[in-house]
Amino acid sequence: MSVDQSDITKVALLARLKIDEADVPQYVDNLSNILGLVEQMSEVNTDDVVPMAHPLDAAQRLRADEVTETNQRDKFQALAPQVESGLYLVPKVIE
């Protein structure tokens, strides 16, 4: 399995990653090599195998629907690049 430059551009867009034009050929090489390694999986017949999501096949624990955490907005927003009146600021989204 190999990827081309247009695949890289599309995946970078999906991943919201800015990639320099000049680096695209290297991504093509690296990703093609890694997918080549991954390709070994296709040689195995897995028709009747149940997929394994959790090593112990544990189910998600449930808890009572109760408030257990206190509001720490100011503490957390102290870490943000830009806030105002308790809101996170981003560039204008709607014209």
């Binding site: 690296n30 997918l35 390694l37 070994q40 195995v44 943000a80 560039p91 989204v93």
Partner: protein, 484 residues
Amino acid sequence: MHTKTISQLSAALRSGEVSSVELTTLFLERIKQHNPALNCFISVTEAQAFAAAAAADLRLKAGNAAPLTGVPIAHKDIFCTEGVKTTCASKMLDNFIAPYESTCTAKFRDAGAVMLGKTNMDEFAMGSSNETSYYGAVKNPWDQARVPGGSSGGSVSAVAARLAPAATGTDTGGSIRQPAALCGLTGLKPTYGRVSRYGMVAFASSLDQAGPITYSAEDAALMMNVMAGFDERDSTSVERDVPDYSANLDNGIEGLKIGLPKEYFGEGLDDGVARVIDAAVKEYEALGAVVKEISLPNTALAVPTYYVVAPAECSTNLSRFDGVRFGHRCDDPQDLFDLYTRSRGEGFGAEVKRRIMIGTYVLSAGYYDAYYLKAQKIRRLISEDFRAAFEEVDVIMGPTAPSTAFKLGEKADDPVTMYLSDIYTIAVNMAGLPAASIPAGFADGLPVGLQVIGNYFDESHLLNVAHKYQQATDWHLQVPKEFQ
């Protein structure tokens, strides 16, 4: 004093032979002296360390000390530590002061252990050489032209150079065991779910597990007594009693059935490493163990499968870094899309971007079944191999890594070659099993690690098996010349 195990330091603190403030001073001095060359710490938390040491000394005097009270340790910079910079070795988190404490580090804090600082690592724990850190590569104290292994490279380098007597690490595909092997230390990856992941920056959530890095199995048991246990804040934490990991260390191992997977001794294994492992297995036979060849037929599929599962989960976990709520934000964003893409493009390093790209690709529309679902099915097959093996044997042994520590830069440009250096460790994470790496000797002057894999929740037995070997050998007590 700096070469003592934490079991010995704990006794010395109790007898009054040394105080925690004295020990803390000693190790902070050693860090000042050697860290510029080794680069194993990202942050040194001197003020907090002295405060914790003074409190520990009071607790020791008052007679209500826990075994690790007053013992200095280092934490991998992947654990959130409240009020202390927590970077995960990424530019993305270079400005991140954690607003809360991870469960794992909180347990050490409550036990009275003294945090010396936060150790260097591969960025977001993605790497096998500690060369992907934003803060620069870490050096191996046994040969500073070589890598310490990764991703817990700072933790092992610090402990091997006796800058800290023990450290925490995390292991997603071998990140405790491989560096422990390359630096001549004891490292344990517990069963998935045994140690809480709360407050541990997530890489691949179905594989990540924290564990101890120490000189001896006896020390690892002391660390596990603090770290292990159920945590309701971690949805994959396992509700199960925690044994006293020190209780069974001295049990006899006569008749222990050791399985040697033939797939772990084939092509690609360095001759020098193979000789050391053979000798270690003979030592076990001399101690009364019985050796049997076994097969783990899907071994070769572990690395390919891992490079679907881990990147898929990494790309999902790392989507939280958006330049909005915390972490790096680019200058002068033109619009929201520009803010996201440039903040992430600038904040993440090359290997992290590579894995996000792979993960995004395999999860993208139309590919899910062919990659992630297929990988989860093969993961089942890999686990079944181990299940079948443990019907015949008590533990599985083999090399931890195919070679000794390689040179800095040697594999940095070739991701696939680097990935294959984790060939013997990754399957254990896929299955969620516990495994240790223990020092077993040297090849051309560099440490070699013996991997011991146990059945689910069998850490206590693994440590017993390791301890008996360490009673009969002294490989785990070797100190690199410059740091004696």
